[in-house]
Structure formats: C-alpha cells, structure tokens
Symmetry: C2
Subunit: 344 residues, 2 copies
Amino acid sequence: MLRPVNDRFLRACRAEPVDRTPVWFMRQAGRYLPEYRALRGDREVLETCRDPGTVVELTLQPLQRMDVDAAIVFSDIMVPLAAVGVDVRIEPGAGPVVAEPFRSAADLARLRPLEPEADVPYVLEAIRLLRKELDVPLIGFAGAPFTLACYLIDGGPSRNHERTKTLMRADPEMWERLMRALTNMVLDHLAAQVHAGAQAVQVFDSWVGALDPDDYAHFVLPWMREIFAGLELGVPVIHFGVGTGDLLDLMRDAGGDVMGVDWRTPLHLAWERVGFAVGIQGNLDPTACLGPWDVVEHKALAVLRRAAGRPGHVFNLGHGVLPDTDPDTLRRLVDLVHERTAAP
Amino acid sequence: MLRPVNDRFLRACRAEPVDRTPVWFMRQAGRYLPEYRALRGDREVLETCRDPGTVVELTLQPLQRMDVDAAIVFSDIMVPLAAVGVDVRIEPGAGPVVAEPFRSAADLARLRPLEPEADVPYVLEAIRLLRKELDVPLIGFAGAPFTLACYLIDGGPSRNHERTKTLMRADPEMWERLMRALTNMVLDHLAAQVHAGAQAVQVFDSWVGALDPDDYAHFVLPWMREIFAGLELGVPVIHFGVGTGDLLDLMRDAGGDVMGVDWRTPLHLAWERVGFAVGIQGNLDPTACLGPWDVVEHKALAVLRRAAGRPGHVFNLGHGVLPDTDPDTLRRLVDLVHERTAAP
C-alpha cells in the first residue's frame, strides 16, 4: 500500500479517539449507483459475486463518489451457501430464494463444510486485490446462522419467518445440527476473509429482531457466542441486526466490538443498553436519505447529538442503502458527519 | 341480553380485579377457521364486510369453538376508506392494495368525510345484531391514521413504507391535511361503532413501529392524542402497534386505556415503560401457536409469569392469528390462561 491508510474507522471500532466520526454505509456498493447498474447489467447477484474483477470494481465505486471511511467487499450473505451447493438465487427487488427449502433433517446433508480457498476463492481473491487499491480499511462479512436459516427454511423473504421459528421450537435437535453447520461455516468464512486481508468483519443477523428475547437467548445466543469467541482474529467485529431494541443486551452478551443498531432505538438509549465498553454503529433511517437535504441533515444531526462525541461511534444507516437513494445525498451526508465531528 | 355478560375483559381494561385473566385473539375470526373459509368462499374481504348477516356469523364463529372473553366485529381497517370511494381491495395472502396510491395534494379530494350511518351501515347493523347474541363484550376498531396512510401512499403492503415516510417528511403540509382527514374519519367511525353498541374499541397502528421516536413524536403522536382525547365515549380504548418497544412511552403519552405490545418486548418491561396506570394487552408470538402444544404452553406461561397477576392484563397474541394455526391450539390456550389465572 503506497497511500496512507485512513484508520478512523478501525480506531472508532476500538473506541479510541478519532479526528472525525467515521462513516460507511451498508450496501454502499449497490443498485442506487448508476455505475453499479451499468457494470452488473442483467447478471444475477451471486454470479456477479463469483467474478473477482467485477467485485473489486463494484466495491470501489462508492469510494470514487464519496469519502466513506471503510469499504465493504461486494458479496452476499448467501454466497457460502451457494458455494457448498444450495440452489439459491437472488430475485431482483425481493431477495434470496432457495429452490428447495429445508424441511427435515435429511436436508442437512446438503450443507457440507465450507472450504473457503476451494469454495469461495473469488471472495478471497477480491479481498487480496482490494487491499492493494484501498486507502481505507476493508470490511468482510457473513450472515449470522439464524438469518441464514430463515432463508434456508422459509425459502425466501418472509414477513413472519414462521417456518423457521416453528422448526426451531418444534425440532430442537435438527435446529442444533443446522446451527452447528452454519456456525462452522460462518467462522470458516470470516477467518478466511481476515487471512486474505479483511481488516474488520460484520456479522449480519438481519432478521433476528423477529424473535422474542427468550427464543433469542435459547436458540440463537449460544451460537453467536461461539462465533464471537471463535473470531479471535485481531480485527474488530461488528454485530448487526434490525429491530433489535429489546435484544441489544443479549446481543452484546453474545459478543462483538461494535453493536449495530437501527433507527427504532435512539442511539444514546441503545448505547446505554449495551454499555459504553463496546462501540455502536448506526443509526439513521435509510428512508430519511430519500427525502430532501434538509430532512437528511436534520435527522443525521440528531444521531450525532445522541452520540455526543463519545469515542466508539461509527456513523451508518440503520439498514442498507435503499435503491431509490440519490448518490449525491450520501456524498453530502458523509461530508456533513465529517465536518460536524471534526476535532477542533 | 338474556344471558349474563362476562365482563372480565372490560374489568381488566379498567385495571379492576378479575376472576381470571381475560383472553381474546386479534383475527380470531379469520382464515385459520375452516368454517370461516367455508362461509366466505371466494368473496373478497371488503365485500364480505358489507354483508351484516355474514359479519355476524363470522364474528360468532370463534366463540363457538373457544371461551374467549371478547368478540371483535369482523371487519377490516380499510372499510371506511373503501366506503368513501377509495379503490382498494384485499389481495389474498398479501393485504390491502390501493389501485391509485396517493401521490400529491390533489389526491386528498378523494377522502371525503365519513358519514357512518350512510357509508358503513353494515358495520353498525352488525354491531347492533351482535349485541343481541353475545354474552361477552364486543370490540369495535379502526386503523390509525399513520397505518392507513401507509396503505394509501405506498399503495399496499411494504417492507420499508418508504413513500409514506418520505412524503411525511418532505411535504408536511400535505401530511397534515391527510392526517386531519384520517383522524376525523377514525373518530367518526369509532364513535358510531360505540353508539351502535361496541363496548370497547381498539385502534390499530400496526405499522407505526417502522418509525423512529422523533418521527413518531412529530408526525404521528399529535393526531393519536387528538383521537384518544376525542374518544370520550365511556368505553375502554386499546392502543395497538407492532415492533413498538421504543415507542411505547410516546404511545402511552398519546393515549389509550390499554397498550398493546408484541412479543419483542417482555411483558413486564413493556408495562414498566408505559407505567402501571394503564393496562397491557399481549404478548405471545403468533408463530408460537404453530408449534406443538408444549411450546405454546411454555411460552404462554412465560407471559403470565411476567404479568404476575397484576390487574390490567388482557392476554392476546402480539399480532393477528396466523392462517396456519390449528384452531384447537387456541381453544386449549384460552383454557390454559383461564386455569392458571383462576382466583383461588
């Protein structure tokens, strides 16, 4: 790396003082960018993920437009499942659809262990290539076991995740075997990304907010704890979910250096709940970025006020960038956060 | 009424002592009942709602199977909107779809004031007929302005409600006019239902949990406050939403005698947040009722433990009964709650 590395994001993840609050956006490499749509064309997302050259270019696109303080490798949480042979495709505008959803213990045979160098070489190759290009830290990621299970069992996006939640409670033995397989897959996938050069990782437990705290504690927390305990990789780990206001303390107990929090919980309350020993990432409503600039500014400043300049805040949206977002809004938002949090 | 009225539900709404914790279920008159599917046949929901004879029969069906302590008139939150001329239909398995979603102030002309006796006589007639049949209290209901606006503006079920939230923030003048019209409609509709004989009402702000607390306080709370202040009808009012853990204190400030709470917030925490001056309704995960009986029992008893026998608890699911629910599970659940909370 010839250029100096902007390490604001990594410092914030370690709750160290920063010259400005770091900013990045989930799905910053995504459909809201015309250059993303042009480059991906009609290719399916998972197919696109298997081409390291395209992955590198897509990952870099948002950095050419705005001064975000981290890059996240372009990929999808379903990539490792597809790599071990699960028949899944990402339906445009909907999300992952699994051709034959898991219904019984016999389906578990379809989840062989992930061998990252053999199964997802394109992810690791893209990470190695990106590290040569980037002057900001590179984030790797994986979906968490519960969220992956939602797609495997419900078969696709689901309002209530009813098949997953029912199987989990009705067949704890199958659930345990499924969580065991997915936990190992997540651990292997994340470790390989870090060994390839990822400087931080995020675990996306996007749908875990559908659970009540009892179910979370019983069916999910032990596996998440194993993941965070197993990730002694020397890089910061972000633990993310949506609609998790009343799970945050349990999620913090499971682990993670930085807790992601969506917009439903005011940032200062979320931080009080998880304690100031961990960092916090968030928490602007992504729909705010669809509005006029004065709305974006007003709501972003409310987030900053609640963060109160405390070390350990990573500014982000509460979920991914929405496809109808104007890229220029995000560019201005990055500048706003940097300006308003500049050390004197 | 010849038969004695079971007033357990009304007493709990007023936080008075009860001989057993009352139970009813949102969407207890619904698709999970074979006799419901048989009676409704292929008729669209809104069409079904316009036939008082069918409404009476559908409302009574669950009471013939289980000892619920309240009935809720079979209807839909979109009924008053359809009655003033909005072109809406309920798509099977999806929800309300508005043919021409509201996009500009010109669309507001499509919302004329509701004249209940002329516009929704079938709702009022069904309530009058039901009061002659029932020995449990009858609940009337309406959708809250924000939730109705989500359907009018996003045009149908929406994961992010992005058009609604964007319009709300970007065009506060149109938002105010829309909320004014919907608030008046809700007030008129609920008052008419009470005058016809409804002994309690529930306001469904089902999608309000999509908002951050700032937006709720600014764009929704004033209208909800006006509704609850205007409902001096002498009957208990239940204020319901989903995913509202961090809105509960604001929703309590808006009003309502009983606060509905879904499964994401443990009942005792929710009650602490809203204060013990109001009652609380909930909060079993509806997907729990898809599981084997031991799961249902285990999770229902956890709700009862958290309610701790305090006056003011109305047992319910955290959202509507799911179509795949076994009716017999609900019957056993009602009996379980009654048995375990029986005064000695």
